[in-house]
Amino acid sequence: MTHLIETHDLVIERDGTRILDGVSMHLDKAEKLAIIGSNGAGKTTFLRALIGLQKATAGRIHAFGHDRRAEKDFHDVRLRAAYLFQDADDQLFCPSVVEDVAFGPLNQGLSEDEAMDKARATLARLGLSALAPRVTRKLSGGEKRLVCLAAILAMEPDVLLLDEPTNSLDSQHVEKLVEILKNLDIALIMVSHDRPVLDRIATRALLMKDGRLEHAVLHRHPHMHEHVHIHADHDHA
């Protein structure tokens, strides 16, 4: 077993409804795995289960060389597999942006100063230095999302679990994110409805359907179609 993360017949019930009905999958080193599926299919539930935020009803989760069952088994999984929440509001809880980004590194044992430096460096890498002193509650929707991304990247995880990372990002920031994710030498699982972005990043895809993950194929072919561009008027004036 050399997979980074794998699940076997994972079953999850919530309020008596079976959401996941035997999910088996694995993630290998440096793999960029896309998970697609319709609204309510159980993608978020699955990601949360991987780091133990959602309790499994049955089945096995094996991560970083060990079986993970009880809450304490997941402590070090969470330090190595960083999770981007689907809703940015749920993820931010420190007063200022830079403190929020420094929270993960602090928990990893860095000193206050080191953690702050790392937070600032990560923000700079994403072009967000200007946000550092801002109050997290007073950011625009997209800004919150970007700060959450910085917060998990600052932990330098081995695996990224991204729940719809491009939601509410503008095209420039999507571009920047794609570049960063493509060049990162770590494994990631990315849930998204944004097909063009998945196409550019993913090396493999799975489809969540009827409570299971099925193989899906990525196949590329050249395509001709009409494309609309929107520019500011003066670009052409």
Binding site: P95, S96, V135, T136, R137, K138
Partner: protein, 202 residues
């Protein structure tokens, strides 16, 4: 630990506590206008939800009493807020009691109302760091006073409780420390993120 259940206290203590609490709640209701009801209510819901979280600290876990913070944010509206919260808690979760409702309201809300009203104007004007210090001390004091009042309610009910009541006071000391720190950091957070929240009682 501050929620005294039905069946422990004597009738005179229950009646006295009930009467005083009714007056305090009426006073608090008078101070809030109809248009303040949603704000007070939703904030109370926030406090109520917070008090239900078991915060792990080392090997054990604590529930915050939040008397100090509520006093600072809500002022005298703390009485009706605590009243509905304790009623709901007694009915839905079996914490506290129906006959002890009055005594329990006083034990939690009275220290908060007095100390909170005293320090709220100071906190409103202070820097976040100073505000945190004031709020921390106030929170810890409120927990201590609540502990004393719980002990007093027991001691007044029966001489048999005297010694137990004294020992019980000691159990409040760690909670004072924890609530002091958490309350202080909480106010520092609010000062930085949404100082308007502190304008109400100040």
């Amino acid at each position: 630990m501050a929620h005294i259940p039905d069946g422990v206290l004597s009738f005179p203590v229950l009646v006295g506590g009930g009467a005083l609490a009714a007056g305090a709640v009426a006073l608090g209701l008078k101070k809030i206008g109809d248009e303040d009801i949603p704000r007070t209510a939703i904030l109370s819901a926030g406090f109520f939800a917070l008090s239900l979280f078991a915060l792990p600290v080392g090997p054990s876990s604590v529930h915050l009493l939040l008397g100090g913070l509520m006093g600072i944010v809500l002022g005298t509206a703390i009485f009706p807020a605590v009243c509905v919260a304790l009623l709901l808690q007694a009915v839905m979760f079996g914490f506290g009691g129906l006959t002890t409702l009055g005594v329990n309201i006083l034990n939690i809300a009275l220290p908060g109302a007095i100390i909170g009203s005293l320090v709220a104007p100071l906190i409103y004007r202070a820097t976040p760091a100073r505000a945190a210090l004031i709020a921390g001390v106030a929170s810890a004091l409120c927990v201590g006073l609540t502990g004393l009042m719980v002990a007093a309610a027991l001691a007044l009910s029966s001489a048999d409780y005297m010694l137990s009541a004294r020992v019980m006071i000691a159990t409040y000391i760690p909670l004072m420390l924890i609530e002091g720190f958490v309350g202080g950091f909480c106010i520092s957070f609010v000062k930085r993120v949404k100082p308007e929240l502190l304008a109400g009682a100040a």
